[in-house]
């Protein structure tokens, strides 16, 4: 790893003032589990790291008018184990508990988890792809076993976060600060498709910091689950995951949120699957139909067609577990 300048800012404003107008010259570090891997592999060679995990503006889990406010530096382990998150936003606690391993959850933060870079092996091996400022995605005609089946192109990365699909299902809002200016972005608009911006995965500007997540409480009477399918049982990124949240009243689905991870360049809200469920009983037939609807419009690449039936099965299994 090359060396870099480093000084702990005292406040959020100090931290933001160290950031520049380019993404890679100065980098933020929170838990560091993704950043250090990038530095060791020379994917990025920043002049300066700005540590933010200690900032008091980024700490804590607090009640808000509509639910909870979760500081961006909150550790994933604390989210997975928080009683109030388990009660009010259980799908988020479940998703945080599926990230990596106990050690990674003891190091990684929720802000870092939603801002992590793609795991695509071309990106990680420093191929000059879109993510490195180039003009091509090597996976399109290459080794694309783990790449996108939905919303792909011109880059075919998949979004690796577990907590992001859960936050989209809950309708969270991302609080962002540049020190002098604050803004709130609905999480579904925080992530971008490669058509919007092939180089980045979200709308964060180089001088901005994610400070907080506003997470509305799950609807009264709703049930939720996060299911993650991996090559092995744990310590991996999702081949496909689903955050599912369903409200059933008098035997009929009133409301459904189905958001997929690991299959698209951003957390993918499977609106067709939600529509397929609403007004139906939650049973084998509606769960199967929702699974099929979830992959409507899927365009698998040469080596990842297996993700289509996998996604159908994972959605169906998730829903049946809530029946």
């Amino acid at each position: 790893m090359d060396n870099f300048s480093y000084a702990r800012p005292a406040t959020l404003r100090d931290a933001a003032s160290q950031l520049g107008r380019e993404h890679n010259r100065v980098m933020l570090i929170a838990g560091g589990t993704d950043v250090l891997g990038e530095l060791k592999d020379h994917l990025r060679e920043p002049e300066r790291l700005v540590p933010i995990r200690h900032l008091k503006e980024l700490q804590g889990i607090r009640p808000s008018r509509t639910g909870l406010r979760i500081g961006a530096a909150t550790l994933l382990a604390d989210i997975a184990e928080s009683d109030v998150i388990r009660q009010q936003a259980p799908v988020l606690a479940m998703a945080a508990g599926k990230v990596g391993t106990p050690q990674i959850r003891n190091m990684g933060t929720i802000g870092g988890n939603i801002c992590q870079r793609p795991r695509c092996w071309y990106y990680r091996n420093n191929y000059p792809c879109f993510k490195h400022g180039g003009n091509t995605c090597f996976s399109a005609a290459g080794e694309n076993d783990f790449h996108a089946i939905l919303e792909g192109g011109p880059s075919f990365i998949v979004h690796p976060s577990d907590t992001a699909p859960a936050l989209v299902a809950l309708g969270a809002t991302v609080r962002i600060s540049s020190g002098s200016r604050e803004r709130s972005v609905p999480i579904a608009e925080f992530f971008v498709t490669p058509r919007q911006d092939a180089r980045r995965e979200n709308v964060l500007q180089p001088n901005e910091i994610v400070t907080e997540l506003e997470v509305p409480s799950a609807p009264a009477g709703s049930k939720a689950i996060y299911v993650k399918e991996m090559v092995r049982e744990m310590w991996d990124f999702a081949l496909c995951s689903v955050a599912a949240m369903v409200t059933v009243q008098n035997g009929v689905v009133q409301n459904a949120r189905i958001v997929l991870g690991g299959v698209a360049p951003r957390p993918y809200r499977a609106a067709a699957a939600e529509t397929a469920l609403v007004g139906k009983a939650l049973d084998e037939a509606s769960a199967t139909a929702a699974g099929e609807a979830a992959v409507q419009g899927a365009r698998p690449l040469a080596k990842n067609a297996y993700k289509v039936p996998l996604t159908q099965a994972v959605v169906k299994r998730a829903l049946l577990s809530l029946a």
Partner: protein
């Protein structure tokens, strides 16, 4: 990490070593802009170099203070600066668990944290548990149950066991499997590692 950095962090008493480290740390800029500058004209104040930071860390109850390059990982600090080599490095990428230590009560991968980031913290490594003459009950359990083959992953396994049992003194086997899931064993001694964890739980209750 460059040899220069290593020389720098191992005490760096000689002025030559310091200057060499400093030049390496500031990199191309000083090398190209000031090719002919005599050593005596280079800055003297080490702390002025924004690429070096003084790290304060309690390790196994002992306070250490050392100036290191900002890029120094926690495991490099522990093994190379403090010479506590019980902690191992397998992958150096948060992908194996060999480097597991306990930081402020939680098990973490020391390969994937910076020493400067954890300055002010409290670390326990395998050397902080027992000694050959007075083994910690967890070490005793791993020996009794042969919870290892080659032993390379063992210090990490034992530190995760410690974090697990501190948090949950009587885990079920499923709890233990889950909380030990961040430590791989290339020899695949998993069955015996699990038996060791359960035995350690009993020994600690006794």
């Amino acid at each position: 990490m460059a040899d220069d950095d290593r020389e720098q962090s191992e005490g760096a008493v000689s002025r030559r070593a310091f200057l060499k480290g400093g030049a390496a740390a500031t990199g191309a800029l000083s090398a190209t802009l000031m090719p002919g500058v005599a050593e005596a004209q280079l800055p003297l104040a080490k702390d002025a170099d924004p690429r070096l930071t003084t790290v304060d860390l309690r390790v196994n109850g002992v306070a250490y203070r050392k100036e290191v390059p900002n890029s120094r990982t926690l495991v490099e600090f522990i093994r190379e600066d403090l010479k506590l080599t019980g902690t191992k490095v397998g992958c150096d990428r948060a992908m194996c668990g060999a480097c597991t230590v306990i930081l402020n009560g939680r098990n973490v991968y020391a390969c994937s944290m910076l020493a400067v980031e954890v300055s002010g913290g409290d670390v326990t490594t395998i050397e902080g548990l027992g000694t050959t003459d007075a083994l910690h009950p967890i070490q005793q359990a791993f020996i009794e149950k042969s919870g290892f083959q080659c032993g390379f992953c063992t210090s990490g396994q034992i530190m995760s066991t410690k974090a697990l049992l501190d948090k949950m003194p009587r885990p079920t086997e499923d709890d233990a499997r889950l909380l030990m899931s961040g430590n791989l064993c290339r020899c695949s001694a998993y069955k015996r590692i699990l038996e060791s964890v359960m035995t350690a739980s009993r020994l600690l209750q006794a």
